[in-house]
């Protein structure tokens, strides 16, 4: 039995079930809706915006490190990872690669797959449990891409020796931070209950 069939809507903050006619949760005062408001449209908008910003995030320089007269050319995300490998810091390179390239890509593609698979005819052979797992991974992992931004902030605050060494953050940081925040907002506005509604519906149609 689903809550929607019982005329109940769940407050997603305090998990109080509220009757359908109620606009606000009587316990925590938050807005309650049967399903998240315009979930799919909002989610698409945020994901697409993030995907567009992903391009400048990768093209524009993230930061420029000059150190004892060497360096000085701006680094993008990818060239930063390559430099780390060249300097024999493979482990860190892997970490940075995962946090700033793999995770944002996974989030963007994963969100697109989830949103497409909600539409009938685009199931893509994914079971509902797999979709659920994908959604949970995306929403849990989202915050960890902020890592690169925090590293830039630390280095920029720390390395200020003028001629000897200087770190100058670039415009790519702005785009990248926006990508991370937008994908976080996107996974927040996605309502996983829609997946189950779809399944219940298709089951009923088969019967």
């Amino acid at each position: 039995m689903n809550g929607i069939d019982l005329g109940l809507k769940l407050c997603l903050v305090c998990y109080q079930a509220c009757p359908e006619y109620q606009r606000r949760c009587q316990r925590c005062g938050g807005r309650v809706r049967i399903r998240r408001n315009n979930s799919i449209a909002r989610c698409w908008a945020l994901t697409l915006a993030a995907a567009l910003l992903y391009i400048p995030a990768n093209i524009l320089p993230m930061m420029t490190i000059s150190w004892l007269g060497q360096g000085g050319e701006p680094d993008t995300i990818i060239s930063g990872v390559v430099k780390l490998i060249e300097n024999d810091m493979a482990m860190i390179a892997v970490l940075v690669f995962i946090a700033s390239i793999a995770i944002p890509l996974l989030k963007l593609l994963g969100m697109a797959v989830l949103l497409l698979s909600i539409q009938p005819g685009y199931e893509m052979g994914l079971g509902i449990r797999q979709k659920m797992r994908l959604y949970r991974v995306i929403s849990w992992i989202g915050r960890w891409s902020m890592l690169d931004i925090f590293i830039i902030s630390l280095l920029a605050g720390l390395i200020q020796f003028g001629q000897l060494g200087q770190v100058e953050p670039g415009a790519g940081a702005w785009a990248f931070a926006a990508v991370v925040t937008l994908t976080m907002l996107a996974s927040n506005s996605f309502d996983p209950r829609l997946l189950w509604d779809n399944q219940c519906l298709s089951q009923r149609l088969e019967e």
Binding site: M1, N2, G3, I4, L6, G7, L8, L10, V13, C14, Y15, Q16, A17, C18, P19, E20, Q26, R27, C28, G29, G30, W67, L84, M89, I92, L95, M132, R143, W144, M146, L147, I149, F150, I151, I152, S153, L154, L155, A156, G157, L158, I159, Q160, F161, L164, G165, E168, P169, A171, A173, W174, A177, A178, T181, M184, P192, R193, L195, W196, D197
Partner: protein, 253 residues
């Protein structure tokens, strides 16, 4: 505790008042221990991830209730004492101040020393023409952890008094919203990576700030383990009546 309260009474100039105050606070602090378990009843709820109606029995030690359809963890048995939470919040607030005053890392280069606090990083970002990124770092790393700790205090107070005011309930809602925007753990990983990066180039020294911030992060982890949301909502929402839809839920008589 008793002695401290006793002294408090002496300061106030009246021993009797002090004792009465002590007794009052002691009953406040101990009544959770007696009344905590009886509040649990078998109840129904809806799964937030798939909207399934589930009845949950009274959980035994170490049991976890999960949704049978989507495996979402609904409730867990936890030995939840509001005092532990209060202790963690106070520890966190005490650690927060040095974590932001003292430098995170100190660099040495050709006799020059330069150290930076978390705030220093924010200022550097702002100064190089990235005010939005600077604001984000400030909010995620400095503001949200502080707000989360401060917001828990009225919530804990309301829970100790065992009547949740509307204010405390709204505050707890905002607290839960802020949870996912606090990024202390990620910042710590960032500090670690930059330290390893820099160690090859010059001498790096960890400042006091980094240790305090680690402590703050551990306190946050401790809070998330200790805090039993469902139980706290139950305590705060005592006065709120049970929902009547077509089907009555939330309370079983």
């Amino acid at each position: 505790m008793g002695i401290v309260l006793f002294d408090l009474g002496l300061v106030m100039g009246n021993e009797v008042t002090g004792k009465a105050l002590g007794r009052y606070l002691q009953t406040l602090l101990t009544q959770r221990r007696i009344g905590g378990r009886e509040a649990e009843k078998p109840h129904d709820l809806l799964c937030p991830d798939c909207d399934l109606l589930i009845s949950i029995p009274v959980l035994k030690q170490q049991q976890v209730a999960a949704c049978p359809r989507c495996f979402h963890t609904l409730e867990k048995h936890a030995y939840f004492r509001i005092q532990n939470l209060l202790a963690l919040v106070i520890t966190g607030l005490l650690l927060y101040i040095p974590a932001n005053i003292y430098p995170v890392l100190t660099l040495e280069l050709a006799g020059l020393q330069h150290s930076s606090t978390i705030w220093g990083g924010v200022v550097a970002l702002w100064g190089s023409g990235l005010p939005i990124v600077a604001t984000m770092v400030f909010v995620f790393v400095m503001l949200v952890p502080l707000l989360r700790l401060l917001m828990l205090i009225p919530v804990i107070w309301a829970s100790l008094l065992r009547d949740g005011s509307r204010f405390s309930r709204y505050l707890f809602r905002d607290y839960l919203f802020l949870c996912q925007w606090g990024m202390a753990k990620i910042y710590m990983l960032g500090v670690l990576i930059s330290a390893i990066k820099l160690v090859d180039m010059t001498s790096v020294e960890a400042g006091l700030g980094v240790f305090c911030y680690t402590g703050l992060m551990l306190v946050e982890v401790g809070i998330s383990i200790t805090l039993n949301e469902a139980r706290l909502w139950n305590t705060l929402g005592k006065g709120v009546k049970a929902t009547e839809g077509i089907y009555v839920i939330n309370e079983r008589h």
